[in-house]
Each structure stands twice: as structure tokens, then as C-alpha cells.
Amino acid sequence: MDTSNKRLIQRLMSRIPIKMLRTTLGKWGRLTEVQLKSMNLTQSKWALTEKLIAICEENELEVKHLTELEMIYIIDNPNQGMWHTFQLMDPEDDAQSVELTQFKEQFKSHIRELVRQVSVKMKKHTDEAVWIRIAWGDAFSRPNHLKPTYVVHHLQTPYVFVTSLTAKQKPLLSQALVLSTRHQAIKDANLSGRKLTAIRDLMMRQYQQVFPTKYPSPLTEHNPTVSNPHIGREQAEPAANRLQMACEAFGGGMLPQLQSAVYKLETKFRDQTNKTMTEREEPFKCVVKFASTNLLESLRNCASSGIASTPVTPLLSSIPLKGRNYFVITDNGPGPSSKTDQPQN
């Protein structure tokens, strides 16, 4: 076993927490029952790594087996690193009929045409997602397995989620994806987050949505009603209204955990008291960033508690509506208050 494989094992072992080690190795299935039992989990990480290297040498496991182990771990714990979303555009007629084996072959052949030294591994997860692990190399070096790119794609949907992709590799991946999924273009969907499940749910609208109704539904189950007859709410109706509005804008129940939303402002500075800035011709550039452990939850709470005005401003409500968290805001025409957000492609 060469040093690069040893380093791969070391890297893997340092990432996998001790408690998850046994289940992950069990799922991997490359170790015999006896070998699995011989891994004493009370030992230090270092000792365990040495042990695993020895076992791998004994079983004559190669890089492709090790990458399998990495994929198993990453699929089970996808909430690491930053996930970016891309959207496939203009499907061709046969885009709906792309199936897994065809996609696999096409993707591999397309990407090998572009880069000679590349190692691609695909796996279909139980939730219908296709996981692709790509280790990139270039003309002079072998694929670097220490910095792989992970791509998650649900077949027959236009969404692709990617993590740790460099600018150099982006056009290569884009081309391979577009060709193998039978689409014509791909664009950045401007949505990124640390939780893959959250951005997937947001993109595919897999969260509880609330729709405006003329007859307010019984909100009792998610509105803590006053049980005690001695406690009376004076403004119960406006509060319920605000909650309804906030839920309409951001969704009800558990919301996808988004970490941040960025607004890049390229609008003119408007303030009557500050003449020098207002009269400047060029736009005033600044970036507004909202950050939270669960941004949508915070925004919904702001709206329902009355800190933010309701109905919710389209700037905030377009985060779940359009499924993106990066906006560029530019002046739209000469009107004084015509701030609109324009899709940036």
C-alpha cells in the first residue's frame, strides 16, 4: 500500500467520529466479522488507524474501496462543508427518460473526455438521489483523492447540489452534467447552505407550506391558546393574523435550516438629510448579510412577533419563494422607490 492510500485512510479516520466507526465500517462490508471485532474502539484514533491500514493491506484493498468507505460516511453525514445549488435549464425531449445506468455511463464518458485523469464514483442512495464523487487530476498528476468533489442529483429533477468545487473544475462538471442529463444549460441557483437536506427541501418545496385562505383555518394546534380562563389576550386577532402572514411567507412547522442570506445592494443612496451621498451618480454598493443557525425560523419569528412588518417584504419572502439566498438588488428605472430584485444569472 503506497503513502497516498495511507494518507487517505488517515484522513478518513480523522473525520469519522469513534461512535460512528463501527456502523460505518459495517456498512462498508469490506472487513470480515473477525476483523471488525478486532477493532477495539477504546483505543486511540492513531492506534485504530494503524490497525485499519494493516487490515486493508491484508485484504488487498485499493483506492476504489477506500473511496467507497468515504462515500458511505459522507452520504450518512452530508452536513459538512458548503453545498451549492445549480439548476439545469431547457430540458430536451428525452430528458425525462434518463435512467440511472444510462446517466452513469454518459456522465463518466463525458467527464473522461474533458479530463483524462479523473476518478468518478457513483452510488444511488435510498432516497433516489444519485451521489457522485469526483477526484480531479490534471495532465501531470493523478486524481487527488484527498479533495474530492461531491455532487448530488435527483434524476428527473433540474437540481444539482455540489460541494467543494473549484472555479477551474466548474465548467467541466457543468458540461458533463448538462450532456448526461439531456439538458441544454446549467445555471447557479444562488442557494447555498451547510445542510444538504435543508437546501434540498427548500429547492424542492418539501416543507409544510401555508396558503392564504379567506376562512382562517383553526390555528389552535400551532398557536398556544390561552388555557386559563383568567388570562385574556387583548390583541389575539392581530397576533393570529401576523402569525398567518408569517407562515404564508415562510412556511409552517419545521423550516429548512438555512444559515445565511446575502443581499448585494447596487442601488442609489437615498437619504434626504445627506445631500452629498444622495446626489452621487454611481450606485452605493454594499452587502447586507443575515446570519443565523436557522434563518427562516428567525425571520418568521420576527414577522409573527411584529418586529418586522407584515405582510412580509418581498425581499425576505423571496428566499423560500424563489429558493435562493443570494440576491443582487439594483435600481429598476428612474422611479424613487422602485427597488426590485433582479435575478442574477
Binding site: 386559563n228 388570562i231 385574556g232 389576550r233 387583548e234 390583541q235 397576533a239 411584529g306
Partner: protein, 184 residues
């Protein structure tokens, strides 16, 4: 515009009614839950985000004996909302039937000017100013006890004393040197 009046309705027998006004509607709920536990008298709690109160509740609203404004010092909005709500109270309330309760006063992020502003407000209206801890159950119990003792007097449940008499003893006073820079 409806102004809340302290004597427009008849009092109930052995009943005390308190109105908690808080723009954030966080602390008032836990306070209300603790207040209604009182057994010596029937305590009715009304919760509001701000004044004026909606007209449609006018009928079933009991006579309010004490109005407590809860101000979260970490939020400027909370103070402004309380200040704006004061206009919708009958002057009769300021004879001992209003008190201010401040939370988060020990938070280091709070600018000292805001606390001074609240103290000045309370002093100018001759109202008591209470400090409370809203995060711990003990803090809620303490705040409840303090409110209850004022409420009982304001509702006339304590013999030999009146709200006006109590307020002349408990009202907030501003130290004369509050506007001078401190040397710390």
C-alpha cells in the same frame, strides 16, 4: 381612540385585574401563568402588545386595577412602544395604578442611556420601576410577587392603604446627578 379608564367599571368581589403590556409578548405569558396561581384573591390577567386596546373587547374586559409595562432593555423598540402606549391611559391611572418592569438590565450590551431614559420616564410619571429577571423560574416568581403586592393594593384588597399612598412611597426617583458624566 379609546382611553383606558380606571373607574369606568365596577370592581368584582375579591378580584384583582392586571394588564400586562409588552411589545415582544415573551415575558408576559410566563408572568401571567404565575400570576393566576395566586389563591388569596382571584387574579385576572389581560395581555396586550401595545395600547390602545381593541374596542371589541371593551364589553368583557374587567376593570383594570394595574397596568404594568414590561420593557426589554436590549430593544429600543420595546421602550418606544411602551412610551407610545402611555398616551392611551387615563390620567387617573397615574395615581398609583401604573408600574414599569424592566428586564435584561444586567445585560452588558445595553447602553446606559436607555436605562436612564426609562428611569426618567418612570420618575416623571411618578410610577414605581421594578427590575426583573425573565430567564429563570426564580426570576419570574420574584417578579410575580412584586407585581402581586402592588396589584393587591391597587385593587383595594389591602385594608388601610391605597394605591396613591403606596405610590408616594415606591415611585421611582431620579438621582440629581443622573445627567452628569460618571467617573468610572
Amino acid at each position: 381612540m379609546s382611553v383606558l379608564n380606571p373607574f369606568s367599571k365596577l370592581p368584582g368581589l375579591n378580584t384583582a385585574n392586571i394588564l400586562l403590556v409588552e411589545s415582544e409578548e415573551q415575558f408576559q405569558q410566563s408572568l401571567a401563568d404565575a400570576l393566576v396561581e395566586e389563591t388569596a384573591a382571584t387574579v385576572n390577567v389581560r395581555l396586550a402588545k401595545s395600547l390602545p386596546l381593541p374596542l371589541e373587547n371593551e364589553e368583557d374586559r374587567p376593570r383594570i386595577d394595574l397596568v404594568a409595562f414590561i420593557i426589554n432593555l436590549t430593544s429600543e423598540l420595546s421602550f418606544q412602544s411602551a412610551e407610545a402606549s402611555l398616551k392611551f391611559l387615563d390620567p387617573g391611572y397615574f395615581l398609583g395604578k401604573v408600574c414599569f418592569m424592566v428586564t435584561n438590565a444586567r445585560n452588558t450590551a445595553v447602553p446606559t442611556e436607555r436605562l436612564d431614559a426609562v428611569r426618567k420616564l418612570a420618575a416623571s410619571l411618578h410610577c414605581p420601576l421594578l427590575f426583573a429577571e425573565d430567564q429563570t423560574p426564580d426570576g419570574v416568581t420574584n417578579a410575580t410577587e412584586r407585581l402581586l403586592s402592588i396589584l393587591k393594593v391597587a385593587a383595594g384588597l389591602v385594608p388601610m392603604t391605597t394605591a396613591l399612598y403606596l405610590s408616594s412611597l415606591t415611585r421611582c426617583t431620579v438621582p440629581p446627578d443622573i445627567d452628569q458624566p460618571s467617573f468610572d
